[in-house]
C-alpha cells in the first residue's frame, strides 16, 4: 500500500493539469449556480410556505438538473483512469514497479473522489447565503451533502471499473453513462409501476431520486448506506481483479 500516495498525488496532478478538468469544473459550477438561482427565485415567489420543500431539499436532487450534471460529469472524470494508461502503455511502467493492484485501484479512486469533493466544495457558499437570509437546518444540510458524497462515490466507482475493463477511453465513457442512465431509469420506474409489486420495490430500492430526497430532507436511511457501500466496493473489487488479470492475458 506504500504505492498509494505517489499514485494518488500523480493522479490529482494529471487531472488538474489538463484543460478537461477546468472545463468540467467551470461547467459544473455554472450549472449549479444557475440551478440555485432558479430555485431561490422560484421559492421567493412561492406564496404557499407550508410546503415541505425548501430550496435546500430541492437543490439536492428534487430537480432533474442535479442528475443531468452527474451524468455529464462522472463519465469524463473516470474514463481516462485506466484506459488512458493502457492505450499509451504507461501501465507497463506502472505495474512493473513494486506496486499492488489494490494500491493502484484505490489510489486512482481516491484521487477522482477527491476531485469530485473539490468540485462540490464551492456550493457550500450557497448554503452560507441561504443561512444569512433565512433559517438553515445544519443537520439537513450535512445529510444532503452525505447523499451527494455517497451517490458520487458509487458513480465514480462504476466509472473506474468501466475504465479498467476497456482499452478505449471513449468506450469507458459510453459504458459508464449507459450504466448510470439505466440505474436512473430503473429508479424512475418507482413512479410508473403499481405499488405492492416486486418491480415497484426493486425500482424504489435503486431509485437515486428517492435516495437523494431522503438525504435532502435530513433522513439518513441505513439501507441507502449499504446500497452505496456495495456500489463502491463491488466495482473496485472487480477493477482490482481486472488489473490482476491483464498479467495473464
Amino acid at each position: 500500500m506504500r504505492a498509494f500516495w505517489p499514485i494518488y498525488k500523480r493522479e490529482l496532478f494529471a487531472f488538474f493539469v489538463t484543460p478537461l478538468a477546468w472545463v468540467l469544473i467551470v461547467v459544473f459550477l455554472l450549472v449549479q449556480g444557475m440551478h440555485f438561482f432558479l430555485l431561490v427565485d422560484h421559492f421567493a415567489l412561492e406564496l404557499d410556505v407550508s410546503s415541505d420543500e425548501t430550496p435546500l431539499s430541492a437543490f439536492f436532487g428534487n430537480t432533474v438538473l442535479f442528475y443531468v450534471v452527474l451524468f455529464v460529469l462522472v463519465p469524463p472524470m473516470t474514463m481516462r483512469l485506466f484506459a488512458e494508461e493502457r492505450r499509451s502503455g504507461t501501465i507497463e511502467s506502472l505495474m512493473t514497479a513494486p506496486v499492488s493492484s489494490a494500491a493502484v485501484v484505490l489510489a486512482k479512486y481516491a484521487a477522482v473522489l477527491t476531485t469530485y469533493v473539490a468540485m462540490w466544495l464551492p456550493t457550500v457558499l450557497y448554503l452560507v447565503i441561504l443561512g444569512r437570509t433565512g433559517a438553515l437546518d445544519r443537520h439537513q444540510a450535512a445529510s444532503a451533502y452525505l447523499g451527494v458524497l455517497l451517490v458520487g462515490a458509487g458513480y465514480l466507482s462504476l466509472g473506474l471499473c468501466a475504465s479498467a475493463l476497456t482499452r478505449s477511453q471513449f468506450l469507458a465513457m459510453i459504458w459508464t453513462a449507459l450504466v448510470l442512465l439505466i440505474l436512473f431509469t430503473l429508479g424512475v420506474g418507482e413512479f410508473v409501476t403499481r405499488e405492492g409489486t416486486l418491480m415497484h420495490d426493486v425500482c424504489a430500492h435503486v431509485s437515486v431520486w428517492g435516495h437523494m430526497n431522503d438525504f435532502a430532507s435530513g433522513i439518513v436511511d441505513s439501507r441507502w448506506l449499504v446500497f452505496y457501500g456495495t456500489m463502491v466496493l463491488l466495482p473496485l473489487y472487480v477493477a482490482t481483479r481486472a488489473v490482476d488479470a491483464w498479467r495473464w492475458g
Partner: protein
C-alpha cells in the same frame, strides 16, 4: 541473478515463448537477439513482472516472479519497448514520482534522481515537459527511470529503436557503462548492437532459444556472404576471371561507369567462416594477376539470418 527454466508463454493458441531456459550471472550484459516477433519482448515482460508465465519458473535475484512478484520487481529497473511516459509531467517530477513509487526513501530521493539524470544525460531538460521532448531525450528519460532506484538488474527492451546514429552511439555507451554497476538484459534485432554492448548473447527465434554464448562466439560467426569489388578494366573479362575463382558462386555486374565496373559475387554458402574470408582474398589476387586494377572491396556483413543458419548448423553438428 536471473534464472529462467522451461519458460513458456501462450496467447490463446499462439505459443510466444516455447520452453526457454537460461541464466544471467551478476555483472553480465546479456543481449537478447532475435528477429521481430521472436518472443523477446514477451520474455522480458515476464522477467519484469508485467506478464505471468504460462509455464516454467523465473527467479529474479532469488525471488520467484509469480509467488514473490513484489520482491522480484523491487530488484529490477525496466524500460518497456515503446518507452511509455506521462507527457504532462516534467522530467524531474516524473523521476521523483518513479523513485517514490520504487520506494527510494524520501531523504535519498533527490540524490538518486540527480544521479540518474546525470548518468542518462537529461540534466539539461530536467524542467521540460516530457511531451515536448525529442524521441532521443524520451528514450534517455526511460533509461533514467530504469536506474533511478539503483536496482541490481536493469532490463531494457530495444533501447535504441527509433534513434538516430548519434543517439544510438550514446545509448550503447551508456549501456556499457551501466554494465559496470548493474546486471543488464537488453533486447535487439540488430546484430551490431549486441556486439557493441553485450558480453553474452542469447538468440531466440519463433519463441525458441536457438543458441547462447559469449559475444565473441557470435561475432566469429559473422562471415561475409557476398563481396562487391570495383575494378578498372573490361567488365566481362573481369566477370570471367571471378567466376573461375574457387568458392565463388554467382557473379553479376552491378554497375558500370566509363572507367570502372562494380561486380557483385556471392560466396558459396557451403564454405566455412574462415574459408569465406579466404575466398575474398583469392578474388582480389586473381583480378590483380589478370592485370585488372582493384579500386574498392566491400564485404557484405553476415546478416542475422546467416548467423542463425550457421548456429543452427553448429547445434545440429555438435
Amino acid at each position: 541473478m536471473i534464472t529462467v527454466s522451461h519458460l513458456t508463454k501462450r496467447y490463446g493458441a499462439h505459443l510466444a515463448v516455447d520452453d526457454v531456459s537460461f541464466e544471467v550471472a551478476r555483472g553480465d550484459v546479456l543481449g537478447f537477439l532475435g528477429p521481430n516477433g521472436a518472443g523477446k519482448s514477451t520474455t522480458l515482460r515476464i522477467l519484469a513482472g508485467f506478464l505471468g508465465p504460462t509455464g516454467g519458473k523465473v527467479t529474479i535475484a532469488g525471488h520467484d516472479v509469480v509467488t514473490s512478484s513484489f520482491e522480484a520487481r523491487r530488484s529490477i529497473g525496466y524500460m518497456p519497448e515503446s518507452v511509455p511516459l506521462y507527457p504532462e509531467m516534467r522530467v524531474v517530477e516524473y523521476l521523483r514520482f518513479r523513485a517514490d513509487l520504487k520506494r527510494v526513501p524520501r531523504t535519498r530521493r533527490r540524490a538518486y534522481v540527480d544521479d540518474a539524470m546525470r548518468k542518462a544525460g537529461v540534466l539539461d531538460v530536467a524542467h521540460r515537459r516530457i511531451g515536448h521532448l525529442s524521441k532521443g531525450y524520451r528514450q534517455r528519460v526511460g533509461l533514467a527511470d530504469a536506474i533511478v532506484a539503483r536496482p541490481p538488474i536493469v532490463i531494457l527492451d530495444e533501447p535504441t529503436a527509433g534513434l538516430d546514429p548519434n543517439q544510438i552511439r550514446d545509448t550503447r555507451a551508456l549501456v556499457r557503462e551501466l554494465g559496470r554497476d548493474h546486471t543488464v538484459v537488453l533486447s535487439t534485432h540488430i546484430l551490431g548492437e549486441v556486439e557493441a554492448c553485450a558480453t553474452r548473447v542469447l538468440l531466440i527465434h519463433q519463441g525458441k532459444l536457438v543458441a547462447e554464448g559469449p559475444t565473441d562466439r557470435i561475432r566469429s560467426m559473422r562471415g561475409s556472404s557476398a563481396v562487391e569489388i570495383v575494378v578498372r578494366g573490361d567488365p566481362s573479362a573481369a566477370k570471367t576471371v571471378l567466376a573461375g575463382v574457387d568458392g565463388i558462386g554467382d557473379v553479376s555486374i552491378a554497375q558500370t561507369s566509363d572507367e570502372t565496373t562494380r561486380l557483385r559475387m556471392e560466396i558459396a554458402k557451403t564454405l566455412g567462416l574462415a574459408a569465406r574470408a579466404d575466398a575474398t582474398e583469392r578474388c582480389v589476387a586473381a583480378l590483380v594477376a589478370a592485370g585488372f586494377g582493384v579500386r574498392e572491396v566491400h564485404a557484405d556483413g553476415g546478416s542475422l539470418e546467416d548467423v542463425f543458419a550457421s548456429l543452427t548448423r553448429d547445434e545440429a553438428a555438435s
